[in-house]
């Protein structure tokens, strides 16, 4: 159940990031309309990326090395998924510049989701710390 909840949370965060990037890209390119298919494509890409996150992101790392290896594998899997979706859905051309553009987008969405997660978790930790100090004033 925890894994499923995590999957949904990641899906919402990652898909929001992808949709934001789609909106930014299409606006900057001067497009006034977007095909309906793009919305489903964004959700599919978000779903695949959230699945990769739940399966590959190191949730209980044993060491710093485990963290580095885990995050690297996770990032590479996201790049692979987005490069596949990008070429399959016609978002990018299968060229060096197209691939570089897509990897840049992955970095941006990664930074966005990491930032959001950090803010949420920090707020939760602060709340729990306050409640703990209220429960045990001597500590």
């Amino acid at each position: 159940m925890t894994k499923f909840r995590d999957l949904i949370q990641w899906f919402v965060t990652i898909t929001t990031g992808i949709v934001f990037l789609c909106a930014l890209t299409t606006t900057l390119s001067g497009e006034e309309t977007i095909p309906t298919a793009m919305l489903w494509q964004a959700m599919l890409a978000g779903g695949l990326c959230s699945l990769a996150t739940v399966l590959l992101f190191p949730s209980e790392p044993k060491s710093r090395r485990h963290v580095v290896v885990g995050i690297s594998l996770h990032f590479l899997s996201l790049c692979a998924i987005m490069l596949y979706c990008g070429t399959r859905f016609g978002w990018i051309d299968w060229t060096l510049s197209g691939a570089a553009y897509m990897i840049g987008c992955v970095v941006l969405v990664y930074a966005f989701t990491t930032g959001v997660s950090y803010l949420i978790e920090s707020a939760q930790a602060r709340l729990m710390d306050r409640l703990l100090k209220e429960k045990y004033p001597g500590s």
Binding site: T2, F57, P58, S59, E60, P61, V67, S117, Y118, E121, S122, Q124, A125, L127, M128, D129, L131, L132, K135, Y136, G138, S139
Partner: protein, 145 residues
């Protein structure tokens, strides 16, 4: 709940009487906490055998199938399994925070966010413990969230 404190008659020892229509979970927790308060643990160290009060223990940790009790500065071995200690101290301030650790929450000085949904608990003696993701829910429940 009404609480009445009466002085004992001469020669009478301290006694706690619980009068209730039904023993519910909160009363069972109270009874367990009272019992745990009075229970001493047999602890082993190089210096010999010591009877430890739960109040002295900061956390229990299982390492290589052995369980150790960490006090402010000393460490003792306890000849009980971690799950047995978890059951003995259920309803008290002791809480399982990972597969191998049970901590006394009253000894936690500060909580902060750690990597990926985990928490870091800094104890009053300066030691730091990690609260695993899967046990954060139990801590939230303990804190009433």
């Amino acid at each position: 709940m009404k609480i009445t404190i009466l002085p004992p008659t001469p020669g009478q020892e301290d006694e706690i009487i619980i009068r209730c229509a039904q023993l519910d979970d909160s009363l069972m927790d109270l009874i367990r906490a009272l019992k745990a308060e009075k229970t001493k643990l047999t602890a082993y160290s190089d210096a010999g055998i010591t009877m430890l009060s739960p109040k002295e223990i900061y956390y229990f940790e299982s390492v290589d199938d052995k369980v150790f009790a960490y006090c402010e500065k000393q460490v003792y071995q306890i000849r009980k399994k971690l799950y047995e200690l978890e059951a003995d101290f259920a309803g008290t301030d002791f809480l399982r925070i990972s597969k191998s650790t049970i901590v006394d929450l009253s000894k936690v000085a500060h909580l902060s966010s750690a990597f990926n949904g985990r928490l870091e608990a800094k104890l009053r003696n300066g030691e730091k413990l990690i609260i695993s993701r899967q046990y954060v829910g139990a801590l939230r429940k303990k804190l009433g969230i």
